[in-house]
């Protein structure tokens, strides 16, 4: 187990280096001068050169990368060009809001998707199986930002049950576990939960159907165990893979929440990214993407380790 974990961590380090290289490159593939958004149009060449030196844009790429990486490791992602505030503080503030949204969505999506997939796998080829398969296809094919709009139209515009935008009353960006904030969470979380729901349903269905065909289930049945007893064994066998899928989906939602956050003006990382793109605030763009990608890499690592702890067979190979 320890050896497996150590090997898995060793494998993650080059990935992290590669990820930071890609994030570093983002600023340099963008056309035009990275300082163009803060420089006045009539800036003198001296001022321009001075700022280039301050931001370090005058050095060679490898040198810039190493300096940037060194500072990032100490938690310094530079300052936002638009607001002048540290990128780290801005991102960390937003990550909390995105986490609340993504975790809630994962729980909803996983519960419903798991339930559907389980029933569908248990009663294969029944009408409920067909319904679950259809829902799974719809879930992966629906443009979720549009689904968000449709939910807003139904539940905010037409029925007036839930607020359409924001994370709290009066444009509050600070989350609190009270009734008003929860009401704001409902629509974005339900919209987002559709993304993992279809995939979870599909995975769990295949898993359950596969496990039911294995010999040990026949053995249990021959022993005289009732369906209820068999169920417990099936759940125990399906859990590690299902949990792994859940972890990965949470990662996807964290990084992929930008479109949903835009629809609902949810003050998370996606919203921050949107701002960074439109103000051409490259340090903010770079920092946000780096943090989200790192989250994803670490989550993958944790999922692998936990999954192999639950199912030691995976440690081989």
């Amino acid at each position: 187990m320890l050896i497996f974990t150590a090997r898995r961590i060793a494998y993650t380090i080059p990935i992290m280096l590669g990820v930071s290289l890609v994030c570093f490159a983002l600023v340099h593939i963008s056309p035009g001068d990275p300082l163009v958004s803060i420089l006045p149009p009539d800036a003198s060449v001296e001022l321009q050169e001075q700022l280039m030196a301050i931001y370090g844009f005058d050095r060679s790429y490898p040198e810039q990368f190493l300096r940037w990486l060194g500072r990032a490791l100490q938690g310094d992602l530079g300052n936002s060009i638009a607001t002048g505030r540290p990128v780290t503080a801005e991102v960390m503030n937003a990550v909390g809001n995105t986490l609340i949204l993504a975790v809630t969505a994962t729980i909803i999506g996983f519960t419903l998707g798991g339930l559907f997939g389980f029933v569908a796998g248990f009663f294969r080829d029944s009408w409920i199986d067909k319904l679950a398969s259809t829902l799974a296809v719809v879930g992966v094919s629906v443009p979720h930002y549009w689904l968000g709009m449709v939910l807003v139209i139904i539940f905010s515009v037409e029925l007036g049950w839930f607020p359409a935008t924001g994370a709290g009353p009066g444009g509050s960006s600070q989350w609190a576990w009270d009734w008003e904030h929860m009401r704001h969470l409902v629509l974005p979380a339900v919209t987002m939960s559709v993304i993992p729901m279809g995939i979870v349903a599909r995975t769990v269905r295949a898993l359950v159907a596969d496990i039911l065909q294995q010999e040990f289930v026949t053995g249990l049945r021959a022993k005289g165990l009732l369906d209820r007893g068999v169920l417990a064994h099936v759940i125990k066998n399906a859990a590690p893979t299902a949990l792994a899928v859940m972890g990965l989906q949470l990662g996807y939602l964290l990084g992929g929440s930008i479109l949903i956050e835009t629809v609902f003006s949810w003050p998370g990382t996606g919203f921050l990214l949107g701002q960074a793109i439109f103000q051409r605030d490259l340090p903010l763009l770079q920092g946000t993407i780096l943090v989200l990608a790192m989250f994803f890499v670490i989550l993958n690592l944790v999922v692998d380790v936990v999954q192999s702890a639950l199912d030691p067979r995976l440690q081989r190979g």
């Binding site: 983002l26 600023v27 930008i258």
Partner: protein
Amino acid sequence: MAVAQTDIETLATADKPQGYWSGVGRRFLKDKVAVAAGCVAGGLILMAIFAPWVAPQDPFDGTMIRRLSPIGTEGYPLGADELGRDMLSRLIHGARLSLFMGVTPVLIAFVIGSAIGIAAGYAGGWVNSVTMRVLDVFYAFPSVLLAIAISGALGAGILNGLLSLTVVFIPPIARVAESVTTAVRKLEYIEAARASGASAFTIVRAHVLGNVLGPIFVYATSLISVSMILAAGLSFLGLGVSPPNPEWGLMLNTLRNAIYVQPWLAALPGVMIFLTSISFNMLSDGLRSAMDIKQ
């Protein structure tokens, strides 16, 4: 005499070689859902090609008097948008850019990704390891994030949108290409070809390509649905296509402000994205089971 004749005919039909592709075609045609999805997808493509002849009005021509006319207005069956342009015509014309933006990245990524994956899979050894580790880095980004990161850094525009989506789809296609190629490379007939002195290029061209391109292609078609959603999503964010061009994602974005005035009109472009995405998805599922590819 007559009996003998039928005997010969039955024998003849029984001996007629049944190709792999005719089997695939037969199985596909039996799958009603896949055929229906194929018809919808084909219809959408035809609609895009013949948009100027199908659309009742000019998609750029609007009058402010007609601004946000509701669905069912006379002469404007699906209403008019925020600039008084005919919604039906814009949805029809929108198929052109939307399909182009959604399908092109997958096609380019199919060519590049297959080349990388087949080369890595056939070469094996350290070439394979290095290539796959580099691709792993791109796997560390959720696809939405990577697409938005690249086109956000490059700025709005059709070309930048296409480029960022292509970069997103190369790694998954290359990975599938690598795994099928590695599986084929270990088969005995490849070894036989190598023993008979065929060069690597000849083996890949004559013996590998035909066996791996099918599965890779089917995998690539399953990405079209994601690509459509992402491409429209980029335009929805203001990246990708720019106004006044008709494109479903962009239309959804500009109509979002009208959600309290004409809510269902504002949702229409999304219906088109959904329809396209789900029909390509089901078509791809049908192709996969017809070709009997397990993934």
